[in-house]
Symmetry: C2
Subunit: 217 residues, 2 copies
Amino acid sequence: MTITITAFERSPDRGRGLARDMRVRWALEEVDQHYDVRLLSFPAMKEPAHRALHPFGQIPTYEDGDIALFESGAIVLHIAERQAGLLPVGANARARAIAWMFAALATVEPPIVERSMAVLLERDKPWYEARLPVLEDRVRVRLGELSLQLGDADWLDHAFSAGDLMMVTVLRRLHGSGILEEYPNLSAYVARGEARPAYRRAFADQLAVFTAAQPPG
Amino acid sequence: MTITITAFERSPDRGRGLARDMRVRWALEEVDQHYDVRLLSFPAMKEPAHRALHPFGQIPTYEDGDIALFESGAIVLHIAERQAGLLPVGANARARAIAWMFAALATVEPPIVERSMAVLLERDKPWYEARLPVLEDRVRVRLGELSLQLGDADWLDHAFSAGDLMMVTVLRRLHGSGILEEYPNLSAYVARGEARPAYRRAFADQLAVFTAAQPPG
């Protein structure tokens, strides 16, 4: 059975690995699972054929035989449940790793995305200068708490897990903001994730898609 | 073994069931599981004793013997994995129900919370009148897609699941905005969730906490 995921034909992040297929690619590489990728244009993402797989018309999706899933968090959890390497064996440690996956998506990512959206969509608005520091302080609240939790450990809860995978991809959305660098242990944590061989293979693969889509010249 | 969760001593929602302990209470009621509640003041939530359970100093937490969890999504999933009633038995249907849990938290809730935050914190700002319609349209994009997905079904994917439980609690955050009512099938879906006996018991219990904390008068 071949696993097929979907990704942007031309990622708006220009191959920086911020699109959410990166999480799924990374997870599949961590468990040494081969997969195929079906690339989608923006119009194709909103068509009924893709909506049947993803009700919100987004990427990534995941197909494997008779199962079809959407939501990067759910896909990563599904991969982690089926193959060893992304969740601890002990029931309690496993539940905590899943808690970190939810924390990444539900508690840490929203203020980071809200800041990114303001930078992207509200830069020309008269209120931008006043709002941006408020949004950045909301991000700092979460990063300060996360930094305390991590301390000088390598990963959030002992061994690397799907929780770290999700958290690193969330924190990477701060690249270029200068905010992550205010928390040296979090910067080092992200770098530690990015240095994993599985991450590097996944990153190279998504970058190759973007590079191939560029017009020559 | 007794399960203990944490909740607000005085919920800022004034007992309307919007605090995130409601999700956990509802899940525990669906599986007929007795639990205790430890109430926390706002200062207590930020103290080291609670931070040891919840790195972000929030509610709810979940303790059961030697396991301690945070994040409402992770707690509901943990309950659903241990006791029948919140996840389908078939592997594929189970994975899809979990996908809906993630969709509720990662795709539908963020624009709804962003709108609530603006109403709460930016009502006096000069940009409020200009921004609010933009935020509400972002909510409508997701509700429109969700409404199409639900169609005339009772629940998102056949039988009621933890995915519906999470989605209903997310949509309830729109009460009073008038937006939910633009999608009659979603309004009916939320009402269907609220009519479940387990929901009603959970709602009554969290309301009783708020009522008991009110000064006589």
